[in-house]
Amino acid sequence: MNRLLIKGGRVVDPAGGIDGLFDVYAIGGKIAAVKPHLQTPDSRPQSQDSSLMSDEWNIIDATGLIVCPGFIDMHVHLREPGYEYKETIKTGAMAAAAGGFTGVACMANTDPVNDNASVTKYILKKAKEEGIVNVYPVGAVSRELKGEALAEIGELKEAGCVAVSDDGRPVIKSGLMRLAMEYAKLFNMLVISHCEDTGLSAGGQMNEGIASTRLGLKGIPVASEDIMVARDIAIAELTGCRLHIAHISTAGAIELVRLAKNKGLKVTAEVTPHHFTLTDEAVIGYNTNAKMNPPLRSKKDLNAIIEGLADGTIDVIATDHAPQDITEKEVEFDKAANGIVGLETALPLSLRLVSDKRLSMAELVEKLSANPARLLGLDCKGTLKVGADADISIVDLEKEWVVDARLLKSKSKNTPFDGWKMKGKAVKTIVAGKMVYEG
């Protein structure tokens, strides 16, 4: 039975109510104990507890490092099956581990679409064989993501899906969204909504504003997101289903979520690191690695996002990791694919919120670990309490490094952060007590 001791780090486990110098003991892939760190020259476990008395400990010295429950990215595109030239479960999991993530929830817009149990089982089988982190499939809301008829949500749940979403495209028909939420509620499945009124966003290439006007690119108004967020909150109220707003990007949508929460509705939201780091000015020069959906928004929206993170309106930081092959990015802007890879840059970008004193370290760990685990119903994840799975991220807050897109573990290199100087890095990622990344 493998025994792991992480000594002397600052353990930040908001779900366990811990923030301080502790030693973390894991046995057989589970957290066995978390004990105050004692300054002793002896590196062996110091404990009265006989179960911890053993010489066969694999010891990690985490002095000066942050030790926290493994990060869970509840919004990634692993592209397998169907688009293995962009990413595979294997390469996506490697990118996740390198970014400090011990788990990822993968969206259903594969080919075939994950709208039935056989695809879910295929993903889970591949993940077990090749994935070095936990992979949690998200099933489709509608068959083939067509927005016409419900996918087999009950069977998707049985097969192992943790939520349903037609992410990548909105559920246009309000009636179908109502059915989805009514039905998903029976299975306690979270409905994740990509909020976009395509009547307003059609043909849009970037956020609508002075930047789109200068660049001569068709804009996507914030109203296209606000309208759908308002609609979905109304349907959540009607049905009582848990609703999670994917990649929120506008000040208006954040205000709507805030109001919904104040009303006591079961509405949550996530934001991507790029939406709280970049504005639509990043597109200037026709940088296709700044093209995504929802688009990078204005400074006003960015400020509202950071405010929403700070006051708890936004529960989760998720990357919307969207690998695209270079052939889909090295083209005219209006022909380029949407999306960027995010797993390996999310942590340092998020840590800027901590160094800017907008979030405490504990709040950041909540948004990267505890909250996604809770929303996706992942028991034994998102905490380092005794009995929890030993999924652990060890972070060096001081480590300075420069992003080199060519060196990303992800199969695709579409990042707008190439060449950025970063501070803070995942230095060890542990899944079920086993080291899966060390850097």
């Binding site: 059609a202 043909g203 609508e208 504003g209 002075i210 789109s212 006007t213 200068r214 660049l215 001569g216 690119l217 068709k218 804009g219 108004p221 020069g285 026709y286 052939t327 090295e330 083209v331 005219e332 802007f333 209006d334 022909k335």
Partner: protein
């Protein structure tokens, strides 16, 4: 003298003195087109490729004539008769053309920003001959030259740009250019064709063209670009022409010495009445004539001389 840049992608990035240099150089080239032998040897041995992804009469012909009057060798490539029709990407087309060592590629493209991508891919000069709804710098330069010739100055003039602003690359380039040269620019058109935040480009914004033509020295009428409208942006051509088209009746409130510009091609009877476009205040054909001189100047300033002679 030459421009201290490899490419001409837009007016937005030009300094005022660069625009003035281009205009004064163009003025000096005008007489070449009036000679009996309309040719100077300046760009002998240079190769210029006109790469046009969109249909064009004026611009393509104008660039070609300009190049030929400078003694450059010109090649015209249009999408329908090239490998672009076989699905070749812009990148591959660029790399293959570059392998034949041209000195300049003139690009017309329906995608905003395509010349910027091309310019990053090739070592030769790239001139933007109109990209999507972004910029059409040589058009704005010839418009500025035409206005400067007529009024002897640009500083302090009032320029009204009317019509489909949101889809117009001509509007954007002219807003930048005329403002840089000290003119006051106002734009007018239906709100459905007014791009977000356009006032932040430094122009004033109205919706009725009657509100801008009263004190305008120059009225620039834009073509309604129906081919770029995915859905109709106004109820009918009839209503547009009656409410927003420039006709004799609306011109009654205009200054007596104002002039009218149109980048062409004209939708006669839509954005401008036939008798107005053919009227005495219309400078449409002066624009076309000046287009050749401006493009000769651009070739000269980007390709001629040596780098050491670059203007400061």
């Amino acid at each position: 003298m030459r421009l201290k840049r490899k490419d001409l992608l837009g007016i937005e990035e030009l300094e005022r003195d660069e625009i003035e240099l281009i205009l004064s150089t163009a003025e000096s080239f005008k007489e070449v087109s009036d000679r009996e032998i309309k040719k100077v040897p300046t760009l002998r041995g240079r190769t210029i490729i006109n790469l046009f992804y969109e249909a064009s009469t004026r611009t393509r012909t104008s660039f070609e004539i300009a190049a030929k009057r400078m003694s450059a060798d010109t090649i015209n490539i249009s999408t329908s008769s090239s490998s672009i029709a076989k699905g070749e990407t812009l990148k591959d087309t660029a790399k293959n053309l570059e392998a034949m060592n041209p000195d300049c590629i003139v690009l017309r493209h329906s995608s905003s920003g395509a010349p910027h991508i091309l310019a990053r891919l090739v070592k030769c000069s790239v001139i933007n001959a109109g990209d999507g709804s972004h910029e059409h710098p040589s058009q704005a330069l010839l418009d500025m030259l035409t206005v400067k010739e007529r009024f002897g100055r640009i500083e302090g003039l009032k320029i009204a740009i009317v019509g489909d602003i949101s889809h117009s690359r001509v509007a954007r380039s002219n807003i930048y250019g005329f403002i840089k040269l000290g003119a006051k620019v106002s734009v007018a058109g239906p709100p459905t064709m007014m791009p977000a935040g356009v006032e932040d480009m430094g122009c004033s914004v109205r919706y009725r063209i009657e509100d801008v033509i009263g004190d305008a020295d120059v009225i620039m009428v834009l073509r309604i670009q129906l081919e770029r409208h995915k859905v109709p942006l106004f109820p009918s051509v009839r209503e547009y022409s009656r409410l927003f088209g420039l006709d004799r009746q609306k011109l009654e409130r205009a200054k007596k010495d104002m002039v009218i510009l149109h980048p062409g091609p004209v939708n006669r009877g839509v954005e401008i009445a036939p008798d107005v476009v053919d009227g005495p205040y219309s400078l449409v054909l002066d624009q076309v004539k000046n287009g050749v001189a401006v493009r000769m100047a651009l070739f000269y300033l980007l390709l001629g001389g040596s780098r050491e002679q670059a203007v400061d």
